[in-house]
Amino acid sequence: MKKVLEVILLLLLLVVTHAKGTRYSPPGKPALTRCRSPEKETFTCWWEPGSDGGLPTTYALYYRKESSDTVFECPDYRTAGENSCFFNKNDTSIWVNYNITVVATNALGRTFSDPVDIDVVYIVKPNPPEQVAVTVMEDKGWPFIRVSWEPPHKADTRSGWITLIYEIRVKLEEENDWEMHLAGQQKMFNIFSLRSGGKYLVQVRCKPDHGYWSEWSPSSYVKVPDYFHREKSVWILITVFCAFIFLILTWLLHMNSRSLKHFLLPPVPGPKIKGFDKQLLKNGKSEEVFSALVATDFPPKSSNYEDLLVEYLEVYIPEEQELMLEKSMDLDVGCLKCEGSASDSDSGRGSCDSHTLLMHKCDGVKEEEERQAKEAHGPGYWECGLSNKQPHLLHPQAQAQRQLQARSDDNISSIGRKQTPAGLHSPARRSTEYVEVERVNEEDMVLLQPVSGRCGDVEGYPEMPYGEDYSKVKGVDMDNMLLLQREVREETENCDTSSTVTTTQKPAACIHSAMPVEGEMVLGVNGYVDTATVCTPPTY
């Protein structure tokens, strides 16, 4: 009868469930999530229930102790909350293996969880440390924080049952990074290197020898007072003082900038001709200029001009020479030269026919000087040996004049340039003009030409040979011609020789031409011939 009733009830239940549309089933498998002991004297286990199968389900925890087959049920389901089991002191044995299982039961059946073995010694997770006190203290003017705390009151460290180690973390209120410190077993810790006026948060936690870290204690706030260390103020004073001195120095420097500039970068002394009045240049009268250039006491007897290598010569140029000079105006770039007559035998002449040469050169110089004078450049420093016959020769052809002038302009301008930018060239260098033997005409007169810059050198300043560029006399041939040795320079595209220079060149690039122009320059570059030598006639 009873059985029949039970069966009917079950059937009814089933019908009802089908009618409602729900399904009832035995409970799902529960799982033990964790077991923890706060002080190694009691412990709690929590489990996670599975599905309840739609029916009211009850849970029960059963445990077995090591080496015993007696099964006990959990003594306390309530103290630790929902789905938990609390083992009090009497039920807890340390160093004993517990085999724990949770069973879920409902009307349709029961389900066992997986068993878990625990030993209480290894599941200890203490409470956070208590009574965390944070104070600011001072050590020789530098503040530091002293943190002190007590172990959680449940953990019995007094009797040596549990040994705890502590950890502290600190951070500024507005930052995110914590600074960790391991404090060992001590209950007090000092934190240094604080920011003045900062607000700090401090937390402490603890852990037994073999167990889990506790939760962090609630934050303790502490504010570090503003401190201004003595050392800092001294540094500030020093900085201000140095800044002040720096300002004074700057001002002094500014006041004396000019003299300092002169000291560091002395200006290139402009060439001065003693007794030469610059106003003459401005007036523009070449005769006056020229005459002014003639100094009676030139060259000074006690001069120490190291570049005064040419002795003073008195040169006389006859009329025909002058004409020839006038013709030969096709000058090469950057070179001043004056040409002697083609038919000049040149033998027996004095060293240089420098008169005409110098005339033209000086003429050009004068023109240039007039121009340059406007720019307030000093005239070039010429060493000209001029005779009184100059006025005759001041009538070159216009074109030649211009050309000459042009060339001389370049020359002078380049030389002038030498003077103006201070420091560009060595100040000691003065533009010196040497004369060199162009040729010797039949009257045994040496035709001179000025030595100017390299051929083709317009832009830069023409390098004035200093006296180490001599023409070497190779010999004198039968016709009393001076055979000079000449070097070929690569710069010269066409080292045409003219007049004087003869045979003994390195012939490769040199072409003898009827146009004596370019060659003159090259010769000029080479240097001059000593006065004692005999000039050779031109070899046309």
């Binding site: 190694k40 004297e41 090591e66 080496s67 002191k89 807890t92 044995s93 340390i94 160093w95 004993v96 293996n97 085999n99 997986d114 068993p115 878990v116 073995d117 625990i118 030993d119 010694v121 019995d156 460290t157 007094r158 009797s159 040596g160 049952w161 040994t163 077993q185 020898d209 073999h210």
Partner: protein, 230 residues
């Protein structure tokens, strides 16, 4: 004449006695060394305790490491901790398994328990080391650890014996502990049991027993010399 000699001689004797006694008294204030060596420097009991506790902590640490290694490589399934196939051979030794029990136990008893445990593990650990050393599954590191463990048990036993001596000297415990001087006499029946245990079981049991030793020593220390670190 004999009448005058007697008081004089008495006075002399008294003087000599006084001198001698005073010397004796001053000698009596000298400290006693733990070792009976002349010129040794005495270690305090607290100091001795600290040393043995540190030693036991280190021993437990090594056993923990080895146990973890074992678990990692030889027992992959999770819940097999404590699945000891048979009991530890030291389960016959009565050990307090709670705080109250341990605190209730007399100092002398506790010291005896510690010594018993240490004695019981001397041979098994040596054989454990041997078996590990010959097993090619383990590397040299593990074998060295096992050897170290075995040595440490030996050293720790000596240390605890010294502590016991000191305590006896200080009158903290009675002299009955000295009967442990011949440890082989203690546990003759256990000689075979541990041989049947597997390596893992031995390790598991020793890990637990070393923890017990460490804890008991701490309890003893905080009970006897609580001033520092309790």
């Amino acid at each position: 004449m004999p009448g005058s000699i007697r008081p004089v001689s008495v006075v002399w004797v008294v003087l000599v006695c006084l001198l001698f006694c005073s010397r004796l008294l001053s000698v009596g204030a000298a400290p006693i060394c733990t070792n009976a060596q002349a010129g040794c420097h005495a270690l305090s009991l607290a100091n001795l305790f600290d040393r043995v506790i540190q030693h036991s902590a280190r021993m437990h640490g090594i056993s923990n490491d080895l146990h973890s290694e074992f678990e990692q490589y030889f027992l992959p399934s999770k819940n097999q901790i404590g699945r000891v196939s048979r009991n530890c051979h030291t389960s016959t030794i009565f050990t307090p398994n709670g705080k109250e029990n341990a605190q209730r136990m007399a100092r002398q008893e506790l010291t005896e328990v510690i010594l018993k445990l240490l004695v019981a593990w001397r041979d098994p650990l040596w054989h454990f080391h041997q078996s590990i050393a010959h097993h090619h599954d383990f590397n040299n590191f593990s074998a060295n650890k096992a050897l170290e463990m075995s040595d440490m048990v030996h050293e720790l036993r000596k240390g605890v014996e010294k502590v016991a001596e000191k305590m006896q000297m200080m009158g903290i415990i009675s002299n009955s502990v000295s009967s442990l001087a011949s440890p082989e006499a203690l546990l003759p029946s256990d000689s075979a049991e541990w041989r049947l245990m597997k390596d893992y079981d031995l390790l598991y049991c020793f890990r637990r027993d070393s923890n017990k030793v460490q804890n008991y020593l701490k309890i003893l220390k905080c009970r006897i010399v609580p001033e520092h670190g309790c």
